[in-house]
Amino acid sequence: MSVVTTSFPNTAPGWQLPSRGKVAMAGLIIAESAIFTIFVVAYLFYLGKSLTGPAPREVLETPIFYTICLLSSSLTIHFAAKFLARGIKFAFLGFWLLTIALGGLFLYGTAQEWHRLIYEHGLTISTNLFGTTYYSLVGLHGFHVTAGLVMLLTVAVLGLCGHIGIKQSGHIEALSMYWHFVDAVWVVVFTVVYVLGR
């Protein structure tokens, strides 16, 4: 049994490691990507396999406007984060709120589409394989948008109360990584559901 010194010679000045918040968010994004991949695989696998009921091309309408909303919100959140990193709080808050509005619009668009599908075409999650896979995939994405909006709103409230400054820039960047992820998933979902699937 030896008693060892705890003093180590300093041989590594200027030791810099990546931010743990960003690493964690990257990990979360990887995990979530895996979940979405499985839902996308199920969607693709079941294309054309429904035994009954409405088919995608009969009922789907491409949501171009709402897609533009969501994808632009990636741009606005990018600017918001950049402004915060430079300490320009007013611009940060402006672009941040714009992001929330665009995200909210997208969710509204999804709700509208679902309303039409359910009440005009009778397509529900239990109608057929298309219904099950469509509502699951788009719904999972919508759930992530909602969760993201909740976080964005929280930051908005804190920002309006003056608690968000340059020091929180790292957290904001991590959060905007999440938002970009949600948008990237939408690009995939859009392609699979509205382009390939019809």
Partner: protein
Amino acid sequence: MSSNAITIPGNQIQSRPWVDELHQWVTTVDHKRLGILYILSALLFLTIGGVEALVIRIQLMHSHNNFVSPEVFNSMFTMHGTTMIFFVAMPVLFGFANYLVPLMIGARDMAFPRLNAFSFWLSFLGGLLLYFSFLGGSGLYGAGSAPDVGWWSYAPLGARAFSPGHSSDYWTLSLLVSGFGSIGTAINIIATIVSLRCPGMKISRMPLLVWMNLVMAGMVLIAITPLSAAQIMLLIDRYLGGHFFDTQAGGSAVLWMHFFWIFGHPEVYVLIIPCFAFMSEIIPVFSRKPIFGYPVMVAATVCIAFVSMSVWAHHMFTIGMNSYANSFFTLTTMAVGVPTGIKIFNWIGTMWGGRIQFKTPMLFSIGFLFQFLVAGLTGIMMAASPFDWQLSLSYFVVAHFHYVIVGGILFALFAAFYYWYPKMTGRMLSERLGKWHFWLFLIGFHLTFDVMHIPGVLGMPRRIYTYEPGRGWDTLNLIISIGAFIQAIAILVFVANLIISYFKGAKAGNDPWDAWTLEWSTSSPPPAYNFATVPTVSSRRPLWDLKHPEDPDSRYE
């Protein structure tokens, strides 16, 4: 040997009322305490899962036995498998990772201590939820109670139509909940290792345990999530009328199998890689040599992580895939044996030319090497898919995977317990009881699992609550059951050792094994802040450098 020796006092907390102490434990965010909580909860579920195994073995002692009803038996093997994988193996390995990783990288805690606590409690409560099924699972017709669909819950057996009541829901929800806990811990481990290493600890200087837990955590992110996705789909089927796995509506039972095994196969590597980590720390110390081929050990582990994502359908060789698919998965499964087998050679290479000390951790490690070799070889046998068309779904497979999990994982865990218990508690485990534990368990293990290969070869399928006489299975099953009881006794010896040594064990000091990684540079147990000053390192074995300033590792790396 050392000049400025500072002894860091261990326990600086004065004794307090037990309610306070309990509250401290329940609300802790300290990685060391959470690590111990993970380990204790795993030991609890190990006992329960072990009892379930004994019930199975009593029922199977001879043909046409009726110790338990078919329904109870089917719940027993389902709960046994689910408990052992999700509530014993994963938590205990997360527990050791939690405890050791920050210490080994010279950090003060994990990157996200509160997420750490949250993940643990999710995990633990998931286990409680699963067991609540015994009380709450009954649905219509009293059909329910604990899940009885096998730990894979194959479709359409897990659907509402074939699993009425709520038993399957308990299976699904408890795993979904604890799955999120696992993902949280994995994210935490990755962020900790990437962002909190002490100065000088480049990625190429991390201890192998840290490397392997990094790889394991990465695999958890992409392996557990397919299961979570499939379980969400199953819940949609069961509760919202979905048709993901509804074969009557055109759904596919095979799709569930693919999703499950895309999780299931990497999962077993998630379980074994931390055990490789233990071996890679323990064998060098008790051979008195550094690990043979550190870079290749890292490369092989990363290689295993990638290749293991491509082998999953070797669990599905009998489901009627075409010959090209079967050939592909045969090839990848055999291929993954190469980086895995290499490690065995590296460990033997570490022992070669060393001065081996046969303390209890090393005994278990040697057992691991032998048993993991056998398990790998029976795996290669089943990789040959035509051979698997006979061996699959039989007791040969059961023998194989228990060889890996008990003979490999559990033996490595026992080694880890005996090695790090002194660090965690400040006391040495009794060597005498340790040797009793080892020999009893070894005998019981081999009696059970060596013999178990034979009924498989003689045509005995798995998951049967009884079997026909005259097939040649009776005596073999009796021997297997006897071995199970011997193992149970050995576990009791182990638990006794854990408890007795906590109060009466010899004081350990900082570094009872004369080891080389950073956790041995602080007291046993470490203070809440781990290190008085954050260490700086310049090689893979910082304490070797300090103890042997004339021949530091930094000269050779």
